[in-house]
Amino acid sequence: MSSAIKTSRSALLATLLVLSIFPLFGSDYYSELLTKIMIMAIFAMSLDLLVGFTGLVSFGHAAFFGIAAYAVVLVSPQYDPASLWLVLPAAVLAAAVAAFVIGLFVLRTKGIYFIMVTLAFAQMIYFVFHDSPLGGGSDGVFINFKPELRIGETQLLDLGNAAHFYYIVLLLLVATYVFLRILLRSPLGHALAGIKSNEHRMLSLGFPVFLYKLAGFVIAGALAGVAGFLSACQFGFVTPEILSWHQSGNVLLMVILGGIGTLNGAAIGAFAFVVLQEVFSALTKHWQFLMGTVIVLVVMLLPGGLASLTQRVRRLLVGGGSNG
């Protein structure tokens, strides 16, 4: 047991080490791809808090990703770079407020109805940005100047600089991971696990289950907002597609692919999904067919997702000593 924890800890540290030195050796193309993967990993982990740790299968999580991305556009001045101090909190706050308001409605439903109502709300927000001048319509909008971090006259960080941006994303990925790990072992995290396991009993034990779910929903929405903020900064433009139901479906697939309720799995799933998407779309324009096949195979053959694969391999290597 403790050796399994030690191995997974060293695996985490090794991953962190590789990620922190990658830009020094990897090509720009791969650094950019890795940046995109890390952003999606934040997004997938935020959804895993709902799907994997609270038992809320949200099919509208792209709404909060997209709202934060549009918030970057709306807060950024047209001819100057925005300040990171302003634009990051604004984007995350916008996503959190949206999650709070939407959560007030959707968390009154359960099961399949919850899935459908989250989808419906996300589609409503999609059409707000798609059909109103607010977000530049279906073409989207450009961010002319990427945000920067300034103290006085000196520019500390420029999000337009790929290397600066890479390390900001890495820092936020680590922060998100650590925050979620701490959250999950807190009283709130244990209560969410109880809700996932047996919501009815949580009520009869005296937990105001609705408020707990709302707290989880807002935290997950805010973290999706962190990812949406980064995505807008990476590509420099925002289209309504980033809050369409495809995006909500993709992030759900990342969580399933990697392994629901493991956090590490969500990150692994994001990595696998983006890489496979890249590889398959280079092979054929019918890449979704190949992607679908992979997902069906993983779901059928690896019920615990790709994260369980590493555990299986470890168990094979270490032998019977680390069951559990």
């Binding site: 072992r185 807190s186 244990h190 396991s197 009815h200 009520l203």
Partner: protein, 253 residues
């Protein structure tokens, strides 16, 4: 007799055309174990569900320390001190017995905003959980995952979880069902101990246990109260014998 804690006044519940509870009134006092008897379908579980808030009543009132709580949600009633156990085991199967009880205790001191603290590190919750396990006779199975406990042990855990919330009212729906004789005896003596400073409503089929521990017995038939009184009165009641024995001759007395 202790103070009146929980009272039902003319309580009724309709399921479509069926009256599962009809004009039910009963009193629960602190220091008193009030048992509810009745054949299957008499409305005993419905009564518990009405009192705990799992079901809203169709009519009547529930008074808790004099206050009408009929419209309160189950979690609010639980926080006020009305704890219940379930007839069908209703636990957190993937957690250890200890964590089941620790989480139950956490509902009394939620600390939902202490996001950066460890749930496992609160001594008050740990000791409340351990005390509850001890009381229910499960201390030796503390670190066993609930799903792998035997059926009887899960029944004990069911009770331990309620105890961990430190309730003043206990609504127990067939706590002895599925328990071995040893656990049953332990539970009966636990009920006797608890009845000193709790108000307990006990729904139970085990007649011997009921007559051994109950201070007051209410007999229900087809959703209504047939008779209510001390065990001796119920034992000698012709109406009760008729309801239970289907109109047969009473054997003795």
């Amino acid at each position: 007799m202790g103070e009146l804690v929980l009272a039902a006044r003319g309580l009724s519940r309709q399921f479509g055309g069926l009256a599962a509870n009809k004009d039910v009134s009963l009193d629960m006092h602190r220091g008193e174990l009030h048992a509810v008897l009745g054949p299957n379908g008499a409305g005993k579980s419905t009564l518990i569900n009405l009192l705990s808030g799992d079901l809203p009543p169709s009519g009547g009132q529930i008074l808790y320390r004099g206050q009408d709580i009929s419209s309160w949600s189950p979690d609010r009633r639980s926080r006020a001190g009305i704890g219940r156990s379930y007839q069908r085991t209703n636990i957190f199967p993937a957690f250890t017995a200890f964590e089941n009880c620790r989480l139950a205790a956490q509902s009394r001191a939620p600390r939902a905003l202490h996001v950066f603290s460890r749930a496992q590190n609160y001594d008050d919750l740990r000791s409340a959980a351990d005390r509850a396990l001890e009381q229910a006779g499960l201390a030796s199975r503390r670190d066993v995952v609930a799903a792998t406990l035997s059926h009887g042990e899960q029944r004990q855990l069911e009770i331990a979880m309620v105890l961990a919330t430190a309730p003043s009212v206990l609504l127990l729906d067939e706590p002895l069902a599925g328990m071995g004789s040893e656990e049953s005896q332990l539970m009966v003596s636990l009920l006797q101990k608890l009845s000193v400073d709790h108000a307990i409503l006990l729904v139970e089929h085990d007649m011997d246990a009921v007559f051994a521990v109950a201070d007051v017995i209410t007999v229900m038939v087809t959703g209504q109260v047939l008779e209510s009184g001390p065990p001796d009165q119920i034992r000698s009641s012709l109406a009760v014998q008729e309801a239970y024995l289907g109109g047969g001759e009473p054997d003795d007395e």
